[in-house]
Amino acid sequence: MSASFDGTSKISSVESSEKSKKYKEFIDKEEYELRKRLPRKLPKRKTDVYVTRKTNFTSQLERAQKILDSENEVYIHGLGAAINQAINLGLQLQTNGHGSVEIATHTSTVELVDDLEPQTDELEPETQSRNNSAIHIKVYKINPIKVELKDS
């Protein structure tokens, strides 16, 4: 489950680390205020569950279970610090399925953008982009007969 960085982003990450240091200084000096943009989301299907750290785990599990039962598959997405929770959720679903549920995992990198809002008149607004890893877990039922039964 290693994050797949492509070459370009590696090079840029070195540059951006320097840049981000500079910005951090600015923020410490209170010349800029950091405002994180919402990460880009793909259009949501019925079977998508985006996991957050702040949502109650049990309710997330219940929701995912419900989708799994009705749609026979569920995609769990977790970003950054929420990856742990996403994995936890996937594994919980698998154990609850007693062998009838399988997991397929995919990892990716998401580009995030932060806005630096100037606190004084003379400064220009800046943006800073950084990468964060994400996980996408497909949880699905292996018994296809069940699907047909449900549909009919």
Binding site: E30, R35, L38, R40, L123, P125, S129
Partner: protein, 875 residues
């Protein structure tokens, strides 16, 4: 009584013998031997007349009640007069017949209805969407407008859901726009005295000057920072034009409650910076009230007055009379017309119009407020622009569906349309293409929070009435599946820095605004065309005749994510368009899935975000003070309406100010003046934040500012802002919700220790205080009882000594009040009680000194309870 006595003395006893006979003891002998009846009646004529008049003047119901015994009453007597006794009937029928309301059919005739609408608008301004709102909303009259307050079919929770998961739309057209024209340096010179860079970026901030970003700041009275705040404004610069790079145009949007104040302040500050007198260029329309009564519409009067003034005026293209338009539309039209016309008149007439008819009974209306100060001109765009606010993640989709980019490429060389003339310039038409591309990218986003904050996009869009919203069903169309390649392309466009061309719009041009408003096809015309359309439901094809509307779209970023909240709550868009188009876009957006909200929803949003909302949460502005007085009166009236047993006894609860916020009491009286201000200095606030926020997990052993350091910097702030309030966000520790006018006080050491040891301890309890008035009453009642029994003398009063002992309660006196809750309640966003309030700077200093380990821990007590509860402050 004196009057009558006097009369009696003079005329009552006419017999001269009476005086002599007074001496004798016998009463009977005093009586007159004869009475002159005429004389007797004469003396009492006044009394009799009064009595007669009083009996005649009685109201109908009283007359019936008084004149008839209960046994004579019949069922449904008020319905059928013939059930009344005949002698009373006459009185009743005369009264009843006098004010008969005309029939509904009569009242609803377009002409009469319009007249009625005009009458109702005399004292206040209606929004363009008024009729739509009045059917569905509770309306309030505020700040000279009739504003929708809350939908009648939606609770606050439903509205919260709309902002969190869907799209809520609020008509904020009552916000006033002030336009300033002039050279950039002149404008900045004049305005710099109104804002201060210590309170954050000002109007001259570099990031906003390009015009790609809307800015916000708080304006103050001339050079009086930090006191004398007027109110928060948002402002927008027009992107520089290539031909005249120094001539700039600035829009300042302010709240109507501080509009007058701001206007005066702007005038005086510009006249100082320009060294020039203020030249009032505004046009006042005077038209007789009789005209109004005769059923003339305002626009007709405007027409006639324009003609009277002999200004060379081209014929007005819009004729009200000939149209069989719906009434709603006409009332709208009325508003549209008086604006542009005033402008035209002013341009050609130049100076004030002749005032021939100087009668007192005139209907005066300032049509176009404008003043010229040196090289700078300030003009009011109040009610000339429409502003709708969209909140929530779905606002993106809703706007994408209603705002269809117009086609500006037509080959014919006719230039009768504004857009043909406007887009003839190569640069502008290229800019138009950029706008279209950018907007396509924006549409792909799932939420407005994915874009850079406060970004401004200009667009020219199609008439929203010619196409119809799709019927929404649960299952998404397979066509709507978005292909990935298209997605990724547009993503890049959004990330780049926005260019000035994208933010430019024809909306800035006054002539174009006028043209767009006046060439609008009426609803009637559109409906007629639709009914003639062959395939119902498909879009009308009007070609060049279709209106193209320039709009500005401004992003709102919502809350910044922090430890307390998820962030991005309340993100959305503001849509600005020319007057007259409000209803068309409003209805289209409703059809496309937006949910309407009112003023309450705006307030609720600010409460959930724990941000300041003008004017309620600006106690140091005059508008905020007026609001506080209003709330106080309302609360007092509500309290006094109830009987004593059904309302809280605030003496017992020892709440000194249960109806108002007593900010003055937070400051020591040594300084004399009661002039306080709210701390808005960005640097001071951030140091305060650093000192007061207790880090939960000390990463790398980092202690968030040692106590001594904190004390020193707080002392520093105190020296500069002695009488200042600090805005605080309150979140409850466990149970309870803060309420309006609740007190924020410092906990004692015992309280904190008890909280740490006992998990279930939610807060100390205040002891009930005796109510002196109630005690007095009790005693009085007791005395009366005893008096009846004749035992009063046996019991001497002996209360005083007991009272003195009760007052010496150690629990009560030692919790200092440092602030008040401005608004509070259960926060749906946080899932617990939360609120916002203000603390005095001195109080915060005391709080820091009292318990250094728990710096932001306070006790909150609501006005109706004795229970203190723990809460945490954040800044």
């Amino acid at each position: 009584m004196d009057q009558f006595n006097r009369k009696r003395k003079h005329g009552g006893f006419i017999n001269n013998q009476t005086k002599k006979q007074k001496v004798s003891d016998n009463i009977l002998s005093q009586a007159p031997q004869a009475i002159d009846v005429i004389e007797y009646a004469k003396c009492r004529a006044a009394e009799l007349q009064l009595l007669d008049a009083a009996t005649q003047k009685r109201k109908v119901s009283q007359a019936v009640n008084g004149l008839m015994s209960i046994s004579m009453r019949r069922r449904a007597m008020s319905h059928n007069v013939k059930r009344m006794p005949r002698r009373i009937r006459e009185m009743v029928t005369i009264k009843a017949n006098k004010h008969k309301r005309p029939s509904r059919k009569h009242r609803r005739r377009p002409k009469n209805l319009l007249q009625e609408y005009i009458r109702r608008q005399k004292t206040k301004v209606w929004l363009e969407t008024h009729i739509w709102h009045a059917k569905r909303f509770k309306m309030t009259e505020k700040w000279g407008y009739k504003i929708p307050y809350q939908p009648t079919n939606k609770s606050a929770r439903a509205s919260y859901r709309a902002t969190q998961h869907h799209c809520q739309m609020i008509d904020v057209s009552y916000l006033c726009c002030i336009e300033i024209l002039g050279k950039e340096e002149n404008i900045l010179n004049g305005i710099s005295s109104l804002c201060n860079c210590q309170a954050g970026p000002t109007i001259g901030a570099k990031m906003c000057l390009e015009g790609t970003r809307e800015g916000e700041c708080v304006l103050f009275k001339q050079g009086s920072y930090p006191v004398g705040a007027i109110g928060p404004v948002t402002f927008l610069w027009r992107p520089k034009s290539e031909s005249e790079p120094f001539e700039r145009q600035l829009w300042i949007w302010c709240h109507p409650s501080c509009y007058e104040e701001l206007w005066k302040e702007l005038e005086s500050s510009f006249s100082q910076s320009e060294n020039c007198e203020v030249q009032d260029m505004s046009v006042q329309l005077k038209c007789p009230i009789e005209g109004m009564e005769k059923g003339k519409t305002l626009s007709e009067i405007t027409d006639s007055s324009v003609v009277n003034n002999n200004t060379k005026e081209e014929n007005v293209s819009v004729d009200l009379k000939g149209r069989g338009d719906s009434v709603e539309n006409e009332s709208e039209k009325k508003k549209e017309i008086d604006g542009p016309k005033g402008k035209r008149k002013q341009k050609k007439g130049k100076k004030q119009t002749s005032k021939k008819e100087e009668s007192e009974e005139q209907f005066v209306k300032v049509v176009n407020r404008k003043s010229q100060i040196g090289k700078v001109s300030i003009s009011s765009l109040k009610d000339r622009l429409v502003r709708h606010r969209f909140i929530g993640p779905e606002s993106q989709q809703v706007l994408a569906r209603t705002l269809n980019v117009a086609n500006i490429m037509f080959n014919s060389n006719e230039t009768s349309y504004w857009w043909k003339e406007y887009y003839q310039e190569k640069k502008l038409s290229l800019g138009f293409n950029q706008q279209r591309e950018f907007w396509d990218g924006v549409i792909q986003c799932q939420s407005a929070a994915e874009l850079s904050p406060h970004v401004v996009i200009g667009l020219t869009v199609r008439d929203p009435r010619v196409f119809r919203a799709k019927i929404r069903n649960e299952f998404p169309d397979p066509d709507e599946e978005i292909n990935e390649s298209f997605l990724s392309e547009n993503v890049e466009a959004i990330k780049l820095k926005i260019s000035q061309d994208v933010s430019n719009s024809a909306l800035w041009d006054e002539e174009i605004r006028k043209a767009v408003t006046s060439t609008k096809k009426t609803d009637f015309e559109i409906n007629q065309l639709k009914s003639e359309h062959l395939v119902p439901g498909t879009e009308l094809i009007l070609g060049e005749d279709e209106s193209r509307i320039p709009v500005l779209i401004i992003q709102n970023p919502g809350t910044n994510p922090s430890e307390q909240n998820h962030g991005h709550y309340g993100s959305g868009w503001d849509l600005i368009m020319p007057a007259g188009w409000s209803m068309a876009f409003w209805v289209a957006n409703i059809y496309h899935g937006a949910r309407a909200g009112g003023l309450r929803e705006l307030q609720c949003l600010a409460n959930e975000q724990q941000s300041q909302h003008f004017p309620e949460d600006y106690p140091d502005t005059s508008a905020g003070k007026i609001e506080e007085v209003r709330i106080k009166n309302e609360k007092e009236a509500e309290h006094s309406r109830r009987p004593p047993a059904k309302r809280p006894n605030f003496n017992k609860l020892s709440m000194e100010n249960p109806f108002s916020w007593a900010w003055d009491k937070l400051f020591s009286k040594e300084n004399g003046s009661s002039d306080f201000h709210v701390l808005r200095d960005k640097k001071d606030l951030s140091t305060l934040r650093k000192i007061m926020n207790v880090a939960k997990k000390n990463k790398k052993g980092f202690e968030s500012g040692s106590t001594e350091e904190g004390n020193a910097s707080i002392q520093d702030i105190m020296s500069r802002h002695q009488q200042s309030l600090v805005f605080v966000k309150i979140s409850m520790n466990s149970k309870g919700c803060p309420e309006e006018m609740g007190t924020i006080s410092i906990p004692t050491l015992e309280d904190v220790e008890k909280m740490k040891t006992d998990r279930h301890f939610t807060g100390p309890l205040r002891h009930q205080q005796p109510d002196p008035e109630l005690e007095k009453k009790k005693e009085k009642r007791k005395a009366q009882k005893l008096l009846k029994k004749g035992l009063l003398k046996l019991l001497p009063p002996q209360k005083t000594s007991v009272e003195g002992e009760e007052e010496k309660d150690p629990d009560d006196s030692d919790r200092d009040i440092i602030g008040f809750v401005k608004h509070g309640g259960f926060s749906l966003n946080n899932g617990q009680g939360a609120g916002k309030g203000f603390c005095s700077m001195a109080g915060l200093q005391k709080l820091l000194e009292s318990i250094p380990s728990e710096r932001n821990l306070v006790l909150i007590r609501n006005p109706r309870t004795l229970q203190y509860r723990f809460a945490r402050l954040s800044f």
